[in-house]
Symmetry: C2
Subunit: 366 residues, 2 copies
């Protein structure tokens, strides 16, 4: 445990740079477990089983997975075919988050430019590290831009508490540092703004209740957990000033795939004239997609994630079955929030409307 607490990041390389270390996010907040990932198979499993989760972190984990592939080539030389196969395995671990594909392809491309095997290995590690540092810097900038929105609400409310609402965990645990949705929150907190965060528990895996609440508590940010379906009620009663969520994939027209339940929160925000912002690094854009509803593949996961709930019982992590054993369930992991419901996107290059025109204004090279 002591080892883990030394690291404020959810992923890092061991001292011998041969093992990827990750916080097992399934065990939080009740237990702090660090897992070793030594092979591509380990990485695929960690992503699939949500030992790691969150679009930016999945991207960095995938990138380090390519690096592990270069370390563990079964042949004497690192064949391109072998590498490409390993990358395809990595990319298929989770279908919705676009960062995974983006990061894996970026490292692969970098390696393919090298001839020498040793150079390939170093190139992979360096590129993965670059991606990680870039995501940290992106999140820091998202915090700076998003802070201005919160500060504007503070001014309008004459320094009364600013109430934010977030869904799932788009905190540093989902990223590397700062988080995406939480970056403006942490920035506002550090600048002394009186903020309070409503944390959707985020069924089925309760990332809000388990991870976001834990993160916010560690930082000392006031917060309250509510059931996901209470977000609408809070807004009806004027208890929310602004919503900030993360994203798993965003079309160039501004449609956002994010954790299941984001869409109803956006509907409620719209119905109550509350600003609804999505915070995302540019790695979360999918520049090939125009229509989120038609074109983004939504992952369907094991129904037991709904039927069984994990938590603490007499100091032991365990799970309980909620419905009758034979009751069937279906587990859709994401939904699509159409651009028309989104007030704006907070990116590392600034804030834009969720429209093709305004997104391209910030990213003219795409």
């Amino acid at each position: 445990m002591s080892e883990a607490y030394r690291h404020s990041r959810p992923i890092w390389l061991d001292n011998d740079v041969k093992v990827v270390k990750v916080i097992d996010q399934r065990c939080l907040p009740h237990e702090f477990v660090v897992s070793d990932l030594k092979t591509v198979g380990d990485v695929v499993r960690a992503i699939k089983e949500m030992v790691v989760r969150g679009a930016p972190l999945i991207g960095v984990t995938g990138a380090l997975g390519v690096y592990l592939a270069t370390l563990n080539s079964p042949d004497q030389t690192i064949e391109n075919d072998y590498l490409i196969k390993a990358c395809n395995r990595l990319k298929s671990a989770r279908p919705t988050a676009v960062n995974l594909k983006w990061a894996v392809d970026r490292v692969l491309e970098r390696i393919l430019a090298e001839k020498d095997d040793d150079k390939k290995i170093v190139a992979a590690r360096t590129e993965a590290a670059k991606i990680a540092e870039q995501e940290v810097e992106n999140c820091r900038k998202i915090g700076e831009y998003g802070f201005r929105l919160i500060d504007e609400i503070r001014r309008r409310k004459s320094n009364q508490t600013v109430n934010l609402l977030t869904h799932c965990n788009a905190g540093y645990l989902a990223c590397i540092e700062y988080g995406t949705a939480t970056a403006p929150i942490y920035a506002a907190f550090e600048k002394g703004i009186d903020i309070h965060v409503w944390v959707d528990e985020t069924r089925p895996l309760n990332q809000g209740a388990r991870l976001t609440a834990w993160e916010l508590a560690k930082h000392g940010v006031k917060h309250t957990i509510v059931v996901d379906s209470a977000a609408g009620y809070l807004m009806q009663r004027g208890k929310v000033d602004m919503v900030i969520v993360g994203a798993d994939r965003t079309t160039y027209t501004g449609d956002v795939a994010n954790k299941i339940g984001t869409y109803p929160v956006a509907l409620a925000a719209k119905d109550n004239c509350i600003p609804f912002y999505v915070a995302l690094p540019s790695s979360t854009f999918d520049w090939s997609l125009r229509d989120g509803l038609r074109e983004i593949a939504i992952e369907e996961r094991d129904p037991d994630e709904i039927r069984f709930i994990h938590g603490l019982n007499e100091d032991q992590r365990t799970s309980v079955l909620v419905p009758a054993a034979e009751s069937p369930a279906k587990n859709f992991a994401f939904d699509i929030t159409p651009a028309r419901l989104i007030t704006g996107l907070i990116t590392e290059r600034g804030i834009c409307k969720a429209t093709e025109q305004d997104i391209r204004r910030l990213f003219p090279e795409k």
Copy 2:
């Protein structure tokens, strides 16, 4: 257990008519426990702790609570003051469901018209039984009227599966027989329509996953549990033909207080042009209220209902703590669905729009 299974109703009088028996709905579906209610205090606790829940059932339980009060008068005669105090205790057990107040006041009024103590006791029992039978008949009629809506969808879909979605449990467990939201579903099922029901798990107490799924399974109705926040996604994908929910209190203008999360389901239905119906007996109308958002008191319950989740672990009913022990939560039990989001109300007198004019057309005497 054998005793319990003899009864298809969630409440009944013991053979000696001195004890009210109820199914303890907190234990379902994993255990079938019958509780004895012998005093007003027992009834208040059973309602508060949700041993019984659901607007019509709470009403009947309250009515039988008044009967128990007449049985257990501490004085030699049943004083009016004593009765009124007992009724006030009963009515305050849960603030949102209007049926409780309605049923308790109705039995009280009936008793106050009697002089003789023995007659008071019989009058109370008879009036409570009358209310129960009337609710059964109301639910049967709601089923008949609501069936026509489902049958119309079946016709339009050329006999393809009709997909319904419901939130919480407005089944026979919440009523006496048939249920409110489930009455049209059972009617359609019995007439051979191919139906499938999406069951919102309904956090925090999971009445959908625990009770509705269990009820539907017992009847053989096809169903699938989803997390509450997936209702929007299902609608985005065209997987829902109609929503039916129950109600805890309805204004004469058609605003509906119902289990937390009903409002976001209604928003999603509106956004996807899916009919959203509320099934309710007339006892659920509050004829004194015009504006649901301003005038309906919303109960706030123990946050531990969110933080701890109950279920089965190694054949034992137990609970797990999901967030960190020190994480705060807030537990709002209901929300308000504004009339503008409701396609229609299904009552025992027929279907009407959620408007004052159309509601008064069905209930001209109010």
